[in-house]
């Protein structure tokens, strides 16, 4: 589920929480897309620090938001990804897009 979000006029951060599977991804997707359409942010940050489980539905979720943000001319990143989720993130090929930041890494906010 998504618990909360913050928007600073430029960047929208959605804090994800708990387990992401095919069932829970639907609500996250709807809530996130509605926030994107309302705020039209330049960048979207999906914060995974509170995520305890994720299957490939989470990959679909990231890819879908990435595409949507691209359509709006913005960017999307998955940030604070816990070590336990690294394997599935790597398997997806998303790492090749360079939009996954592990927990502890930070290359945002430097612009």
């Amino acid at each position: 589920m998504y618990s909360q979000s913050s928007y600073d006029g430029k960047s929208l951060t959605v804090y994800l929480k708990g387990e992401i599977d095919h069932h829970s991804a639907r609500a996250i997707r709807e809530a996130t897309d509605s926030l994107i359409q309302t705020n039209k942010p330049k960048s979207l940050r999906l914060d995974f620090s509170g995520v305890t489980f994720m299957d490939s539905s989470g990959i679909g979720l990231i890819m879908g938001r990435y595409r949507m943000m691209n359509l709006y001319g913005g960017s999307a990143r998955a940030v604070n990804v816990p070590g336990a989720l690294e394997r599935i993130m790597n398997l997806s090929g998303l790492s090749a897009l360079n939009i996954i930041e592990k927990r502890g890494e930070s290359c945002e906010g430097s612009e």
Binding site: E19, H22, H23, S24, M54, S56, G60
Partner: protein, 147 residues
């Protein structure tokens, strides 16, 4: 295959049961004292298999999903996930990474790739109109037991 211990589950193909299924399988396997990573691997693979049943086997209708878990020996587990849904016409193609029949639903096409990567063996038996059986084999590493 003979088993040291065995459990069976049957439940409706509702997406709300995906979490129940992987948690129940994880709880049963906990008696082998798996590592956190091994348990997470199993739960992820089971979640993929059950999601396939919910999304593809039964689509908009609701059917039964059955799971049979066998502890073969102190470090091998076999998990069979079975549905009686539409079946898969071309199993080889369905197992190709990124192949999906539901791109609109944001399915990444990684279900079988995850199962293969997170377990030690995936076997798929399917008959169009009859259903699909996925069998996952997972080895749990022997750990030095001090207690």
């Amino acid at each position: 295959m003979k088993a040291l211990n065995e459990m069976k589950l049957s439940f409706d193909s509702r997406s709300s049961n995906e979490a129940f299924a992987r948690t129940a399988v994880g709880s049963f396997i906990a008696q082998l004292d798996p590592t956190v990573a091994e348990l997470s691997d199993i739960k992820t693979a089971v979640s993929e298999a059950v999601t396939n049943c919910v999304v593809h086997a039964y689509g908009d209708s609701i059917g039964k999903i059955s799971i049979n878990v066998k502890i073969i020996d102190s470090n091998t587990v076999s998990i069979r996930i079975r549905d009686t849904g539409v079946g898969i016409e071309n199993v080889k193609q369905a197992m190709e990474p990124l192949y999906t029949t539901s791109p609109d639903d944001e399915r990444a096409g990684l279900g079988f790739a995850v199962m293969q990567s997170f377990t030690d063996g995936v076997r798929v038996n399917s008959k169009v109109g009859k259903g699909t059986t996925v069998t996952l084999l997972k080895r749990i590493a022997c750990r030095v037991n001090n207690g």
